[in-house]
Amino acid sequence: MAETLMFNALREAIDEEMARDQTVFVLGEDVGHYGGSYKVTKDLYQKYGDLRVLDTPIAENSFTGMAVGAAMTGLRPIIEGMNMGFLLLAFNQIANNAGMLRYTSGGNFKIPMVIRGPGGVGRQLGAEHSQRLEAYFQAVPGLKIVACSTAYNAKGLLKSAIRDDNPVLFFEHVLLYNLKEDLPNHEYLVPLDRAEVVRPGKDVTILTYSRMRHHVMQAVKGLVAKGIDPEVIDLISLKPLDFDTIGPSIQKTHRVIVVEECMRTGGIGAEITASINDRLFDELDAPVMRLSSQDIPTPYNGKLESLTIVQPKQIEAAVEKMVTLKV
């Protein structure tokens, strides 16, 4: 076991997969000589050379399309979005070509590629660098969307994503890169399509992902002290949703709260709520509740920014109300 920071866990995942498979390469802005804006690819160019750790010009849509072409012809590109918000500039290549091309080509080509990088609201980075845009991509057919949340799952999930034959959007969180954890010395993979039961419980199911997992766990401390026993599930896979894990939990607790960092309108929670209503309506003792961030551009001011995203106290209050008042 070795204590590892999350950004180093991600780096280890890339390093191990590049050593294992010569068709794996990294491309993006400042991934090479600079080592990545969060040092996830630090010094890898020295080990693998400039072609396998390719510093690109600032041309997001074009280098994303280039990765699609490389993937179609047998390579396994890993794109680093310096900030996942920059994906907006590559939306066409991600949607039309990464996501849809396999289907449109009638199965002629597969697109094994990973698009990873820091997402989420950081500390006063302003609206454009504090995007909550994972939900923007969930309607694109053919994409898998994954969000990591601990050093352990970050490493194992990224290795699985690199080995997956489909395009995977891999969301890291800008405020989680310095999480520390003892990681196994042996190689391990974490499956992309499995939600993680973070804490078993019987009173209510809390569905969450990425940084909000940690806000939820803070709230859980207070809830447990009040005698409430919540089950916490980290979705991991935002698309497709793992109803093999979500379903049995709801059948046990009959109450669901979704805690997400993305915006309320058209968010991940909106899709989950609709899916639960489709599949498990009869199991529910109360309407599914969503705690989402506000439908506004992320403000710069620190107080306004903290009001924009869900805070642990709000989670605690909402869960307590749902469980004790039986609403």
């Binding site: 010569q22 396998r52 074009s62 399309g65 280039m66 179609m72 080509s105 009638g106 053919g142 489909n166």
Partner: protein
């Protein structure tokens, strides 16, 4: 009508062409023309749907470039992709069946006219949004260089030809990819089919520098202007560019001055192009011009040309029957091909 650009002069007599090469090129051009004529007929008879963009008039570009390449090279196209696919070796049966939405189509009926793909023929696609195929082609070219220089595969010398129109050269992806191709010396041909018009937007109204080949110079890349109605001229330019690319010397921008003989698509009323302009270009029909060259050089005789035309017409009829008789996709397969495991 804007004053026509003077077409660059080319002395075809100085270029070597064997009889078998002449036959391959002529067959390919005739196949392209007859195929598109049949598409128009089928569209107007209500047998074919969607947006259908025909290639009539531009055959010298597809045949001149792709028949100067190897079968393991890559081709990347636009929404006007039928003839590029045919030149790349995708059987006419599979292309026609795709246009009929059949399971036997090259994209299994999921793509349609603007999305022709064939991995066995390294046909990277029909890309229907302007410019979006250029980065994909760049990726295929990067892959060749990666295999050669990062993985040490000496035989990884495949070249990619990326086709697009004059309108695309005002799009950012064009400039971004020219930059990266030159920066990394990628084995790629950027082939501009300058047919003077986007849909209703004349090239001169859309760009501050109408001579597209000059745009290569700022990237330190060779830019060549060629008479896109002369297959021998296109072939000669393409051969030089392919040789450079294969030798690791990097990309070339080729501007082919050409013309589409039909509207933008079969839904286009084509009201903005003057009769005078159309007549000027119709008189430059690339197939008639190549026939004259073949006869003059005594490479093929009229009887041989007619035999080829008859045989190709037979192949088109066969492709049509095949497409009509082929099954539609199974509705149970609606979700097939979303993911790689499907």
């Amino acid at each position: 009508m804007v004053q026509e650009r003077t077409l660059p002069q080319f002395q075809a007599q100085k270029t070597e062409l064997s009889v078998s090469e002449a036959r391959v090129i002529y067959e390919d051009m005739v196949l392209g023309r007859f195929f598109e004529d049949k598409c128009a007929e089928m569209y107007y008879r209500g047998k074919m749907f969607g947006f259908v963009h025909l290639y009539n008039g531009q055959e010298a570009v597809s045949s001149g470039v792709i028949k100067a390449m190897r079968s393991d090279d890559y081709v990347c196209s636009t929404y006007r992709d039928h003839v590029h696919a045919l030149s790349a070796g995708v059987p006419a049966r599979q292309v026609m069946a795709e246009l009929f939405g059949k399971e036997t189509g090259c994209s299994r009926g999921r793509g349609g006219s603007m999305h022709l793909f064939s991995s066995p023929h390294n046909m990277l696609g029909g890309f229907a949004f302007i410019g979006e195929g250029i980065p994909v082609a760049l990726g295929a070219a990067f892959q060749s260089r990666y295999r050669r220089d990062a993985l040490g595969q000496a035989d990884a010398d495949q070249v990619t030809a990326c086709f697009f129109g004059d309108g695309t050269t005002n799009n950012g992806q064009f400039f971004e990819c020219l930059n990266m191709a030159a920066l990394w010396k990628l084995p790629i041909l950027f082939v501009v089919e300058n047919n003077k018009w986007a849909i209703g937007m004349a090239h001169e109204r859309a760009t501050s520098q109408p001579e597209i080949y000059r745009k290569a110079s700022v990237f330190g890349m060779p830019g060549v202007e060629v008479d896109g109605m002369d297959v021998m001229a296109v072939r000669t330019v393409a051969q030089a560019a392919v040789a450079r690319a294969r030798a690791g010397e990097g990309p070339t921008l080729i501007e082919c001055l050409t013309y589409r003989f039909r509207g933008h698509s079969l839904a286009d009323p084509d009201e903005l192009r003057s009769k005078e302009e159309k007549d000027t270009w119709l008189a430059r029909d690339p197939i008639k011009r190549f026939e004259a060259y073949l006869l003059e050089q005594k490479l093929l005789e009229e009887v041989a040309l007619k035999e080829i035309r008859d045989r190709i017409q037979g192949a088109i009829d066969d492709a049509l029957s095949f497409a009509e008789e082929s099954p539609e996709p199974n509705p149970d397969d609606l979700y097939k091909y979303i993911f790689a495991e499907d």
